[in-house]
């Protein structure tokens, strides 16, 4: 049935495998490229679950409500039609994974179980223990392996895409990739290319992302003319475990169980934290927000922790604060937080029952990515994108458990559209005028240049510097002067990049050449993120500027579009399709147990306080925009750790607590991301 067309999919995570499976199933041939064996892609790190309004709990949930929650959670920056389509497709995606054998958690009756997540009042999240991404990825990996056995899929694992092959009309004709063992470059001729390469977390040095999440291939597309949208929207999770190598997530429930956040009053205090007396500890959240203490909403927690560290007051002067559980009996902790504490113990080596944990906010997810239309087509004919590397679904902020569903949705939409395009495109390989060979030579020359460069700069140190600048200035709190300075720094790093010399004389399986290429591409995307943030003078979703603390729909209810030029990214703005749900103020304090109401004056004071970074004087209400008129409940209360569900549960008050939790989390900007 299949005509002679060939499609290349770049990236073997959830989105890439979803697209590959659909194309192979339709009878067409796929070249699937991945830097690592596809089973080792970053999707395995997603924990919490996958959203779909299956409504098995008699709650009246529906795709329409899922749609509203997603658009609202994204602060109305997402084009609404694809979000609606995704939410409508979500239940069938979950059922498909069920049929593929994903061991989703079950009810007593043997049906799929669903749990609640932030940003919704419904049980909408299907989950497999506490590692759902792993099981979903493996299910697709199995199906794709089946097609591979049938000869439909050609896997190229250990190949990194370097660039697109574009013909004289800027039409995508394939791509160039590099074998990471031999450094051999190869042209992959294709009638359509689907990008599914994930996020760019490594631009920030350390993040919760895997080491392959450089954004390098996407950056290459951008530099060849693909539009990059909403780059400035980067989600930061308030509590992650700073490692020497990466950041790992620490669930919010640690604070819910009474964890206290503090730093030594004297930054030079080198004592063991347990030897520092109470009076010499600064419980900065409790001091600044006496009403909420450590249970301030996530965005406030994120910003405060960040601010303390940036000002040099972190533990040991470094980017870390204590999250202390040691005042709680160990047996209570084991009962309520066991599995979470084990993760901390495994990677840090300290027992959080006896030693305060060290935590810091961590870059987690990019809402921005390649611009695509509602059919997942980029602006380059023949080039498609799906998953975290496209910008389409999450607007200014992503809701938990929506990333897995958006990956699969993107892959499922991109695949048939790529087939349609490939079938109809005017294409004959004889008419490509040798563009493949030309591009291959261009890429070879870049490699040669990197190899023969002899300068004094060290690529890994440049990467660290970029990561530090981006983390310090382009994450949680953004100021225009610092964003400008960051862009100047990035220009300096781009200049210094020209003088790196790789420190590996053995080119077999070297990691130096690929890393150098990734670094160059990361620097380009870093500028897109930084300048996008600089120009967006408002606060929306994950993007927060104290100097512009409000959402400004009049000026900025728009998609940021970046186009590459040799000098700097050219930014423009595109209207957002808001035809289905009218934008309204994000206010999660309504509709819960109590109505929140806010005098304007209090609101203004609280905003000022947040902006100034100074402790608020006693008596001032610690209330953020949208307002709270009560202390948020202990997020987990008297719950127990359920090994089976992989979460804290309390049968009696679960529903109520969850309502409150959803409220809190989303009032906090919806940054509930420790479970995707």
């Amino acid at each position: 049935m299949a005509g002679k067309i060939k499609i290349a999919v770049v990236g073997g995570g959830l989105a890439g495998l979803a697209a590959t499976m659909k194309i192979a199933e339709a009878g067409y041939e796929v070249d699937l490229l991945s830097v690592v064996p596809v089973k080792r892609s970053h999707s395995v790190c997603a924990q919490g679950g996958i959203n779909g309004a299956v409504n098995t709990k008699g709650e009246g949930d529906s795709p329409a409500k899922h749609f509203d929650d997603t658009v609202y959670g994204g602060d109305f920056l997402a084009n609404q039609p694809p979000v609606q389509k995704m939410c409508e497709m979500a239940p069938s995606i979950i059922y498909l994974f069920d049929r593929m054998g994903v061991p989703f958690s079950r009810t007593k009756e043997g049906l799929l179980d669903f749990r609640r997540f932030g940003g919704t009042l419904h049980h909408r999240t299907a989950f497999a223990g506490a590692s759902t991404g792993q099981q979903l990825l493996y299910a697709l990996d199995e199906q794709v392996r089946r097609f591979e056995t049938d000869g439909k899929v050609n896997k190229f694992e250990g190949w990194e895409m370097l660039s697109l092959v574009l013909d004289d009309h800027q039409v995508c004709r394939g791509l160039i990739a590099m074998n990471l063992q031999t450094l051999e470059l190869k042209e992959f001729s294709a009638d359509a290319v689907i990008m599914a390469t994930g996020g760019p977390g490594l631009i920030f040095g350390k993040s919760t992302n895997s080491m392959v999440c450089t954004g390098s291939a996407v950056s290459a597309c951008y530099q060849q003319g693909a539009k990059y949208a909403n780059g400035e929207f980067i989600q930061v999770h308030p509590t992650s475990i700073p490692g020497e190598d990466k950041l790992r997530l620490m669930s919010e429930s640690a604070r819910g169980e009474g964890g206290r956040v503090w730093v030594p009053r004297n930054t030079d205090d080198k004592r063991n934290p347990k030897d520092i007396p109470e009076t010499e500890r600064q419980y900065f959240l409790e001091e600044k927000y006496p009403a909420y203490g450590n249970l301030v909403p996530r965005d406030i927690a994120t910003r405060e922790i960040f601010q303390v560290c940036i000002e040099g007051h972190g533990v040991g002067g470094e980017n870390q604060v204590y999250l202390d559980l040691t005042h709680i009996p160990a047996e209570t902790l084991d009962r309520k937080l066991g599995a979470i504490l084990e993760i901390y113990e495994m990677f840090v080596g300290d027992d959080p029952r006896h030693v305060p944990m060290r935590i810091f906010p961590g870059v987690h997810y990019s809402m921005g990515g390649l611009w695509v239309d509602f059919e997942q087509r980029t602006n380059i004919p023949g080039l498609f994108a799906a998953g975290e590397c496209d910008y389409s679904i999450h607007g200014a902020n992503r809701l938990g458990a929506n990333s897995l569903v958006s990956c699969v949705y993107g892959g499922f939409v991109a695949a048939p559209n790529a087939i349609d395009y490939a079938k109809n495109v005017e294409r004959k390989n004889t008419e490509t005028n040798g563009v493949h060979a030309t591009e291959l030579r261009r890429q070879q020359e870049i490699n040669l240049q990197i190899i023969k460069n002899k300068g004094s700069e060290n690529q890994y140190k440049l990467h660290e510097e970029m990561g530090k600048w981006m983390t310090d200035n382009v994450t949680v709190v953004r100021y225009n002067d610092r964003l400008k300075a960051t862009d100047e720094k990035l220009l300096e790093l781009q200049d210094r990049f020209k003088r790196i010399s790789i420190n590996d004389s053995n080119l077999w399986a070297t990691q130096a050449v690929p890393h150098a290429r990734q670094l160059k591409n990361m620097l380009e995307l870093a500028r897109v993120i930084t300048l996008g943030a600089l120009q967006r003078d408002e606060s929306r979703g994950a993007h927060y500027k104290p100097d512009f603390p409000n959402r400004d729909d009049e000026r900025f209810l728009k998609t940021t579009i970046a186009e590459w030029s040799a000098e700097e990214p050219i930014l423009s703005y595109e209207a957002v399709d808001i035809g289905l749900i009218e934008p309204r103020k994000r206010d999660y304090s309504k509709g819960g147990k109590k109505e929140g109401k806010q005098p304007q004056e209090t609101l203004r004071l609280a905003e000022q306080a947040a902006a100034s970074g100074l402790p608020v004087k006693e008596g001032a209400d610690q209330i953020r925009e949208g307002g709270y008129d009560q202390k948020p409940e202990n997020l987990s209360g008297a719950k127990i750790w359920s090994q089976e569900k992989g979460e804290l549960i309390d049968p009696e008050t679960e529903a109520e607590t969850r309502v409150q939790q959803g409220k809190d989390i989303d009032a906090a900007g919806g940054k509930q991301t420790d479970e995707r």
């Binding site: 593929m100 007593k108 497999a128 020497e244 009996p329 420190n503």
Partner: protein, 267 residues
């Protein structure tokens, strides 16, 4: 408080050395001679093996002061869920992301940590190995559920919580290769090994997957099949995901025997 609760404090490195030596197996390329180089890095708290390697990579100079090439190793998720960074550390196969320097030093009592590549797979370079054969094993046992199609056909079969939980345990296998490295029977890819047997078991337990159990069992009955298991039970001890590998082998053996005895009845 802790003592009152009967909590055993984990042993801590009370007197850390100033520097740590990493003895790293080097190999320039497939088939080249293996040799060892030692790198000295200053001790810091909270180091894991990966961050030590990152430190060494930045400026690869041996302890003797010789400029050398940076050691090459694989890493990705760094959360012990992708399986890629597996290597042999102080003689034990494990993931290098979750191998903490303090624990290793306590374990050895010295200030030297030895890193070697897994020995049962082609050694690409330094600490990097090629585990393609493990993915081929998954093909051999047809470790997937046969679908009629990926279009919308409604919900899958119901399943009890007990079966779901048992399958979940198997679903956590990240194809890291620890079980094969530790298996005394496995060498030169002569035996399909615990990983693939457990994945066959995982699919055989699924109500739909069960329908192709014969094909899967056939994949385990060849020369490299399940009978190679010598019951040393090393696999289950080194598995970082605590997968009940020996149970999978036992139950799959049982299925094969059952099929041999009664399979003809179904013909």
């Amino acid at each position: 408080m802790s003592e009152a609760n009967g909590h055993k404090e984990k042993p801590r490195l009370t007197n850390p050395p100033k520097t740590i030596d990493f003895r790293i197996s080097r190999r320039e390329r497939l088939g080249a001679q293996q040799y060892t180089e030692t790198f000295e890095i200053p001790y810091r708290k909270n180091l894991n093996v990966i961050s030590a390697l990152m430190e060494i990579r930045k400026n690869p100079v041996t302890k003797e002061g010789k400029q050398t090439t940076p050691p090459v190793w694989d890493m990705n998720c760094l959360e012990q869920v992708c399986g890629i960074c597996t290597m042999v550390i102080d003689g034990r196969v494990r993931q290098s992301c979750s191998a903490l320097v303090d624990d290793l030093l306590i374990g050895s009592g010295g200030n030297t940590i030895t890193l070697e590549p897994m020995s049962k797979f082609p050694n690409v370079r330094d600490l990097q190995v090629d585990r393609t054969r493990m993915f081929n094993h998954l093909k051999q046992v047809q470790a997937w559920v046969e679908l009629d199609g990926t279009h919308d056909l409604g919900a899958g079969p119901t399943m009890t919580q007990a079966v779901q939980q048992e399958r979940y345990a198997y679903s956590r296998c990240m194809t890291c290769g620890c079980c094969l490295e530790a298996c005394p029977q496995y060498h030169d890819d002569n035996y399909i090994g615990p990983q693939a047997i457990a994945q066959a078991r995982y699919q055989n337990m699924h109500p739909t997957g069960k329908s192709t159990i014969d094909e899967r069992l056939n994949g385990l009955m060849g020369e490299d099949g399940i009978t190679n298991c010598g019951n040393a039970q090393n696999c289950v001890q080194v598995c970082p995901m605590s997968i009940p590998l020996t149970r999978a082998i036992y139950e799959t053996n049982r299925d094969i025997t059952f099929n041999a005895l009664f399979g003809w009845l179904r013909k």
